[in-house]
């Protein structure tokens, strides 16, 4: 018998028949289908018990309360707003919602690093042990002080509302250096304006909860102004009809059709940067038609009428100057807003019981001092600073938390030095002018004296400073750069030593004061989970360095650790026995200036417990009854400026007037004006856009690597640019490739560029997308305050 073909076929037939009666085909089909559902390279999230922890978001100064969901106590999977929080009431902004992408970012710095190659060499960073790294810094600090040059140590911090900044202040006072700076903010200039007008060192608080009419000159309310979530919630309340209460009207003045402009009840489109002129035009109508708060002006205001200066010279007052120079017709010519509309606005503003004037710019940068004074003056005229307190002065430090620093001779000598680069014209007030641009300018150009050691803390000036190339040049000139960055950002790249801080969600920290809020505020940020890298809280590092230095520096910073400093704050609150520890039931409308809140706490331990559980401490701001100006009144004509302007200066130089600093460049070659804008979907601050946020950007804002600039259809036609065309944007600072979004969101001859793109550091999800607006805008140093202001830059746009 031979096995023929036939037999084989029969065998196979049987085998097939048999197989069909076994699980093989069905099981294999099923299992391979299941296999495709569970590809092994797809991550499978660890399961377990889900718990919640409470904290405070430190990603911006907004002070939102957060809750994080953790798996098995060690893996954060979700961040949401804390519904019991006094300010954010459960709300969150996209940056906070994407917060875990910073915590788990691949660009986190996981351990101390030392630059072993040339400064700026990304390959040169080598791990170094904490004790070695700290020794290098301590030795340098000791050596510089021994040479008698303590003033050549400087620090730039981006966290201006934390106790760490107070530790830096204490450290710099005791060590002996005047060169401590924060990243520039609009409050740098408003605080100077407030100090000149009232004598107080205070932030402005706006009672938006009580307002029935808000006249807003350019502040990007819905694009991330002040404490963003608080503003969003107030805006939401304005949109809701509340029985028995008049609806709040929002009138927005801006050149670009931003979301705030679109969402406002009325949008007044003006030419870029002319908002202050419009404010003075409105003041003109108020004065001419006697619509201003005459009682407040006559009792509490100095410089409205003509006045005599210290030298006995008769000077014109605010009334005379405004009446002479800012008639609606003149202002209409400057701003492009109809004279009729200006009159109408003034009358409408005067009719309101609870009106408030807000102002600001798209970027949170210092403003022209005289323009800040103009908006402040308009608030004074409508009585917003009177007992109604629509605008109140909130002390930037509610209490003297740290004891006076112990200073030796060396410290006195060092601290007495002129801050590097600071112009002599800077007005002497209680407020220390934050002249960072002047400092960097002098450092970059090797003027006055060198900087031996530069600390950079929670700041990224090499990206985030307007005219950021200045920061890069300055970083290269500093003797030694020590960064405390949590992320390998543009600035950390130029460090010699990186002593990484815990990430914003991992550290114990605090929030002192809420920008724009009409009450004093304090909150403690507790970590939502344990730090998972070899990082150290910068507060602890500063205390450790002080201890190593010994002497008066160690005496001035005697605390064991940063937690002890924060507990001292809680103790101060308990000791002061005023203010309230509040949750979501807190109604800011109930706070009145000068009327201290009756404390609902006693023991320091209690205060600490509540603060760490997410309660916030609030207190009423001071009342404006006694200004500490030379006249004892609110000064429209600021006598504090006498020392800053020449003795034969025009009367105008003491008070608010419209004076834009002329942009450089030739209008023939650069015929357009570049303005920048921000959006809540773009993080312009210390942290870059998270990958989640990139999904929010429309494809006519960012397409692949190209950012779009907004151009009016008429301008586009004139320049021969079509929608989505590739173009080159040129300013006096340089040029960059862009694309064109043709949209009537901007007036003719204006180009608008978004802020927050164009990073060169971090990872592939962040870098190389678009253009950094800071690298193209021009900084004008305010001739009085020396602060770096930004308003508009001449530009050219041409087909690429």
């Amino acid at each position: 018998m031979s096995l023929g073909r036939r037999a084989f076929l029969q065998f196979v037939g049987g085998a097939i028949g048999g197989t069909l009666l076994t699980p093989i085909p069905w099981k294999l089909a099923d299992d391979s289908a299941i296999w495709t559902q569970n590809w092994s390279w797809r991550p499978s999230p660890e399961r377990g018990e889900i718990t919640e922890t409470t904290g405070t978001c430190l990603l911006c100064p907004g002070g939102c309360g957060i809750q994080a969901r953790l798996v098995n106590g060690h893996r954060a999977i979700y961040v949401k707003g804390n519904p019991d929080h006094a300010v954010s009431r459960g709300g969150l902004c996209p940056v906070g919602a994407a917060g875990l992408q910073y915590l788990y970012a691949p660009y986190r710095i996981t351990q101390p690093l030392k630059q072993t190659g040339k400064r700026g060499d990304p390959q040169g960073f080598q791990p170094i042990a904490w004790n070695e790294a700290l020794k290098i810094v301590a030795d340098k600090l000791a050596a510089v002080r021994k040479k008698g040059l303590p003033h050549t140590v400087a620090c730039i911090t981006g966290q201006d509302r934390s106790s760490v900044t107070d530790l830096w202040k204490q450290f710099f006072a005791a060590y002996g250096s005047p060169n401590l700076y924060t990243m520039p903010r609009h409050s740098d200039s408003t605080r100077l304006a407030v100090a000149l007008a009232t004598g107080y060192d205070a932030d402005l608080g706006f009672h938006l909860e009580k307002a029935t009419y808000v006249l807003n000159f350019g502040a990007p309310l819905l694009e991330g102004w002040a404490a963003p979530v608080r503003i969003q919630q107030i805006f939401s309340r304005w949109q809701t009809e509340q029985p028995g209460l008049p609806k709040t009207e929002l009138v927005h003045v801006e050149s670009r059709c931003s979301l705030t402009a679109s969402k406002a009840d009325r949008w007044i489109a003006c030419k870029p940067g002319t908002e202050a002129a419009l404010a003075l035009g409105i003041a003109h109508v108020l004065i001419r038609e006697k619509l201003y708060d005459a009682a407040f002006v006559s009792e509490k205001v100095f410089g409205f009428e003509d006045w005599t200066d210290a030298a006995g010279a008769l000077r014109k007052g605010f009334k005379a100057l405004v009446l002479a120079k800012y008639s609606p017709k003149d202002v209409a010519a400057v701003t492009g807003v109809d004279a009729q509309v200006i009159q109408e606005l003034a009358r409408e503003l005067a009719r309101q019981k609870n009106a408030v004037v807000l102002w600001g710019q798209s970027s949170d940068t210092p403003n022209n001092l005289y323009h800040d004074l103009a908006f402040l003056a308009l608030n004074a005229l409508i009585g917003a600073l009177s007992d109604k307190a629509m605008v109140s002065l909130v002390p930037s430090q509610p209490w003297q938390a740290l004891p006076e620093p112990a200073m030796d001779l060396e410290a006195f000598k060092g601290l007495g030095q002129k801050p590097l680069g600071q112009p002599t014209s800077v007005p002497k007030t209680k407020v220390r002018p934050n002249t960072l641009h002047a400092f960097l300018n002098a450092l970059a150009n090797g003027e006055e004296y060198p900087i031996e050691l530069l600390f950079v803390h929670e700041a990224n000036p090499a990206y985030g400073l307007s005219e950021n190339t200045l920061a890069v040049q300055a970083l290269q000139k500093a003797g030694m750069v020590v960064s405390f960055a949590s992320y390998l950002d543009e600035t950390a790249a130029y460090a010699d030593l990186i002593l990484p801080n815990h990430n914003a969600f991992e550290r114990l920290d605090d929030v002192i004061g809420l920008p724009g809020a009409p009450f004093a505020f304090y909150a403690v940020a507790t970590p939502i989970l344990k730090p998972h890298y070899d990082t150290k809280s910068t507060g602890d590092v500063v205390l450790g360095l002080a201890k190593t230095l010994g002497g008066t520096v160690a005496q001035s910073l005697p605390w064991k650790n940063y937690e002890e400093v924060l507990k001292l704050r809680a103790a101060k609150i308990a000791e002061g026995a005023t203010g309230l520890l509040v949750d979501a039931t807190f109604d800011p409308a109930s706070v009145e200036p000068g009327v201290s809140l009756r404390a609902n706490f006693k023991k320091a331990a209690d205060v600490w417990k509540k603060l760490t559980a997410g309660s916030c401490w609030v207190e009423a701001p001071q009342a404006l009854d006694a200004c500490t100006t030379p006249s004892g009144r609110f000064e429209l004509a600021c006598q504090g400026l006498l020392a800053s302007v020449s003795t034969n200066a025009g009367d105008e130089l003491f008070m608010a007037h419209y004076k834009p600093l002329p942009p450089s460049g030739n209008a023939g070659e650069l015929p357009l004006l570049l303005t920048t804008y921000r959006s809540l979907s773009l993080a312009p601050g210390y942290v870059p856009n998270a990958p989640f946020m990139n999904k929010l950007l429309p494809d006519d804002l960012l397409l692949k690597q190209d950012v779009f600039v907004e151009v009016h259809p008429e301008t586009a036609r004139k320049l021969g640019l079509r929608h989505k065309a590739k173009a080159v944007l040129k300013t006096p600072l340089g040029e960059a490739p862009v694309r064109v979004r043709v949209a009537p969101t901007v007036p003719a001859d204006v180009v608008a560029l978004p802020e927050g793109l164009g990073h060169t550091a971090y990872d592939e999800y962040v870098q190389g997308k678009g253009v950094n607006a800071n690298s193209l805008v021009e900084v004008h140093l305010d001739p009085v305050t020396g602060l770096g202001t930004v308003w508009a830059t001449r530009a050219q746009l041409r087909l690429a």
Binding site: Q37, W39, W41, R42, P43, S44, P45, R47, V71, R75, A76, I77, Y78, V79, K80, G90, G91, L92, C93, P94, G96, A97, A98, L100, Q101, Y104, A105, P106, L222, P228, V229, Q232, Q233, F235, S236, Q239, C257, L259, S262, K263, W267, L680, S681, A690, P691, F692, M693, N694, K695, L696, L697, P698, D699, L702, P744, T745, P747, A748, E764, Y765
Partner: protein
């Protein structure tokens, strides 16, 4: 769900919270809007007028969870029953593991509410730690969409069960509504006439997108701007 466009400031917190909650994957470049994965998307609308009469608004768009049994476009075309409208809750379920990736539903959906996984979802190694076990990560080759966070409904039902409450009477909040800083998103049971959503859906400001297609979306929008109402119909007549 009711979304008040008068309150919405287009910040995008809803969309980010949604991505975090639902393990939505992301890529270095997200500017190809036909290939990007987004359950909640923000659309920019404008009134078409010239400066300075120009106005813009943002419109957040989750899945509309169409209610019409015969016009719920996606469920109608799915060849494998991977997407089915649940009678009880009204949620249009989509089960990624059942999906064969034919993308008929994407073609059928008039709201572009569905996304396709063109690539293997890949997270930077360190970011795998933030993935939620409550929602399974999808794989290459399947469609995904907004689920109204139905895993939160399941959790709420379980909580009710162990507390001896009625699991069918639970209320829950999806991630987008929870995150919204202006409270523009209201979520609830449309069938309950006493719920906030049912009341708001009858508001004179209320409208639905492409209502004339009779897809019966369960997402209502509120706006006092007529030009926004007008665009919701996309010139269908």
């Amino acid at each position: 769900m009711v979304i008040d466009l008068d309150k919405c400031t287009g910040c995008g917190a809803c969309a980010v919270a949604c991505q975090q909650e639902n393990n939505v994957s992301f890529r270095p470049d997200e500017s190809d809007k036909l290939r990007t994965i987004a359950w909640m998307t923000l659309y920019r609308l404008d009134n078409g007028k010239d400066y300075p009469e120009h106005r813009e608004a943002m419109l957040p768009r989750p899945c509309m969870q169409c209610d019409s049994p015969h016009h719920s476009p996606c469920t109608f075309v799915c060849p494998v029953n991977a997407t089915v409208r649940d009678e009880h809750t009204g949620i249009v379920d989509h089960i990624a593991v059942r999906c064969i990736g034919c993308r008929y539903c994407m073609v059928a959906c008039p709201y572009h509410a569905r996304s396709f996984n063109w690539w293997d979802p890949k997270w930077p190694k360190t970011m795998e730690a933030m993935l939620s076990p409550e929602v399974s990560p999808r794989m290459r080759g399947v469609v995904e969409k907004c689920t109204f966070c139905h895993h939160r409904l399941n959790r709420a039902r379980d909580r009710a069960r162990i507390n001896g409450e009625d699991p069918d009477g639970v209320v829950y909040t999806p991630a987008c509504a929870e995150a919204c800083p202006t409270g523009a998103i209201t979520f609830g049971n449309l069938r309950d006439p006493h719920s906030d959503v049912a009341r708001l859906a009858k508001d004179p400001r209320a409208f639905r997108i492409l209502e004339k297609l009779h897809t019966e979306p369960k997402v209502y929008y509120l706006s006092s701007d007529q030009w926004i109402h007008k665009q919701s119909d996309n010139d269908l007549s």
